[in-house]
């Protein structure tokens, strides 16, 4: 992929560790603007760690992370977010003791204009009428599918240029999984760059423009979805 694209997310040769041993080793990838780039990998391969590295929650010990020309590595998380990034985290992580609306407002935390926040709320409620019905309900009392909507809506409240999505289908009923993928496709249509981390190979490749495969903390394959689904690395990464 073209790593010179100025508005891309570029990850170059990063290594990340929680304690001593590196969980990510020399990982490089690019998420092109306006496209869906996916990262496939089995449980424990380091997908979430990569997202945490980008967000500065678990900063890499070497390598470079750039977004729209800005060097993100070493920045505190709120400054990474300020670069126009939002994240729909693994396991949704809604604020259980906040109402649906408070959760959504948290998504727009860095937006200073009240009018803009209200406008975004209207947009999210239009996309998810169900959330509108439950706006005063505590998020902790919602069903799993509704919490997924809150988490996605919260990410959209940021009006991001780049959206990081970590295993949105995890723990959802199959019908909701398909709905989730449809939503992600629609978000891309708004021109938002998407970096999607998933275990769910077929549905993910079906909506992606480009993909990478992570295995034991290393990128072992990359390519266009059609090519990627045939490679032996994808099969090995999951079944090998």
């Amino acid at each position: 992929m073209n790593t010179n694209e100025p508005n891309a997310l570029v990850v170059e040769k990063i290594s990340t560790a929680y304690d001593k041993a590196n969980v990510l080793e020399n990982v490089s990838l690019t998420a092109a603007p306006g496209k869906i780039t996916c990262l496939l990998g089995s449980n424990g391969s380091g997908k979430t760690t990569l997202i945490r590295s980008i967000l500065g929650l678990t900063p890499p010990n070497k390598g470079v992370i750039r977004f729209r020309g800005l060097d993100l590595r070493g920045l505190p998380t709120h400054r990474v977010i300020a670069a126009g990034i939002a994240c729909i985290p693994e396991g949704r992580r809604v604020f259980a003791k906040f109402s649906v609306e408070e959760n959504l407002r948290m998504g727009a935390y860095q937006e200073t204009s009240d009018a803009e926040v209200r406008e975004r709320l209207v947009r999210v409620y239009t996309a998810f009428p169900r959330l509108s019905e439950r706006r005063t309900q505590l998020a902790g009392t919602l069903s799993g599918g509704e919490q997924a909507m809150v988490s996605i809506g919260r990410g959209l409240m940021r009006a991001p240029k780049l959206l990081l999505v970590d295993e949105p289908s995890l723990g959802l009923a199959p019908i909701l999984v398909q709905e989730n993928f449809n939503i992600i496709r629609r978000i891309r249509e708004q021109g938002i760059t998407i970096f999607l981390v998933e275990q769910n190979v077929h549905q993910t490749l079906a909506i992606s423009d480009y993909g990478y495969v992570l295995s034991k903390g290393r990128v072992v394959a990359e390519g266009k979805p059609a090519d990627l689904s045939k490679t032996k690395e994808v099969h090995e990464a999951y079944f090998g």
């Binding site: 967000l55 929650l57 505190p76 998380t77 709120h78 977010i81 300020a82 994240c87 985290p89 992580r93 604020f95 259980a96 003791k97 906040f98 408070e102 407002r105 948290m106 998504g107 935390y109 860095q110 919260r154 940021r158």
Partner: protein, 306 residues
């Protein structure tokens, strides 16, 4: 007991309860955002009370005679200085220790508290002895039967209520409050939403310490005397109150503060022996309560944490 005496004890209990609650709320706020116990909290109260006293002495030496000006200046100086001190303590000693076991924070802030206390004792002029604290609020009183309702106490109670209501409004109605509550619930997700975590921690420590300064000033105005040990005692009581209330709940801390004061008052009045045992009685009840309800009276799931 006749009405006058009962009312007198109730008023005294409410005054104590307000001070305890203000200190307890600080412990709860700190625990909420950072899951740490900051043991120097009580001594920050002492430094706040002495800052107010020093401001008073300074103004007097400059010839300021208006009690309103004096009181306002003392309030602003004590609250402002302790807010800064609280933020500095968080920045210098609490945040850097995040990766270390929680016990280390506890130990360091315990030592820091001793340093603050000893600094007051050694460096404040004649700081080892109790210092008279000026009576600055109107001293009138209204007699209701044989009960003397003092205006100064009423003003202090009302001010305390206003402070607590203000804190609640800030926490529940403002963006800053939303951020503080978000950090208390889930630090990482709050960061991921773009919250500047370190800034929120510093602000929270500043707010908690300002509340302690307010309680310290109240203590001085109520007893008309302060000494370098008041914060040590109020810190232990405030901490117990926060624990009884289920550490992490603001309502719990307030309830715990007033409950402790109620226990002391009951201990002083109803026990057959001298009132000197009121603390023994109150702390004994706390110990029993904690053995019975180890997580506090307000269970976490009912209380909205912070």
């Amino acid at each position: 007991m006749d009405f006058g005496l009962f009312a007198q004890h109730t008023m005294n209990g409410l005054m104590l309860g307000m001070m305890y609650a203000l200190v307890a709320v600080g412990f709860t706020l700190f625990f909420g955002v950072l899951d740490v116990i900051k043991f120097s909290h009580g001594d920050v109260l002492t430094v706040g009370a002495f800052t107010a006293l020093a401001t008073f002495v300074g103004l007097k030496s400059m010839g300021v005679a208006s009690t309103t000006v004096e009181l306002l200046a003392m309030l602003i100086a004590a609250i402002g200085a302790m807010a800064v001190l609280g933020a500095v303590i968080a920045k210098a000693f609490v945040l850097p220790l995040r990766a270390a076991p929680a016990l280390n924070t506890l130990l360091i802030t315990l030592m820091l508290g001793t340093v603050l206390r000893e600094a007051v004792r050694l460096f404040y002029p004649d700081g080892a002895n109790p210092k008279p604290f000026p009576r600055l609020l109107p001293a009138e009183s209204v007699s209701i039967g044989n009960f003397n309702l003092r205006l100064d106490n009423t003003i202090m109670l009302a001010a305390g209520v206003l402070v607590i209501v203000g804190l609640q409004l800030m926490l529940n109605r403002t963006k800053l409050g939303l951020a503080i509550r978000a950090v208390a619930q889930d630090e990482e997700t709050a960061k991921t939403m773009g919250v500047n975590f370190s800034a929120i921690v510093l602000i929270t420590f500043a707010i908690g310490s300002a509340l302690a300064a307010f309680a310290g000033l109240m203590n001085g105005l109520y007893y008309n005397e302060i000494n370098f040990g008041i914060g040590l005692y109020l810190g232990v009581v405030g901490f117990s109150a926060a624990i009884i209330g289920g550490l992490g709940s603001i309502y719990g801390a307030i309830l715990g503060g007033f409950m402790f004061a109620a226990l002391q008052t009951i201990g002083a009045v109803a026990l057959p022996f001298a009132s000197a045992y009121k603390d023994v009685f109150a702390f004994a009840v706390v110990i029993v309560l904690m053995a019975w309800r180890p997580t506090g009276l307000i269970p976490e799931k009912l209380s909205e944490r912070v």
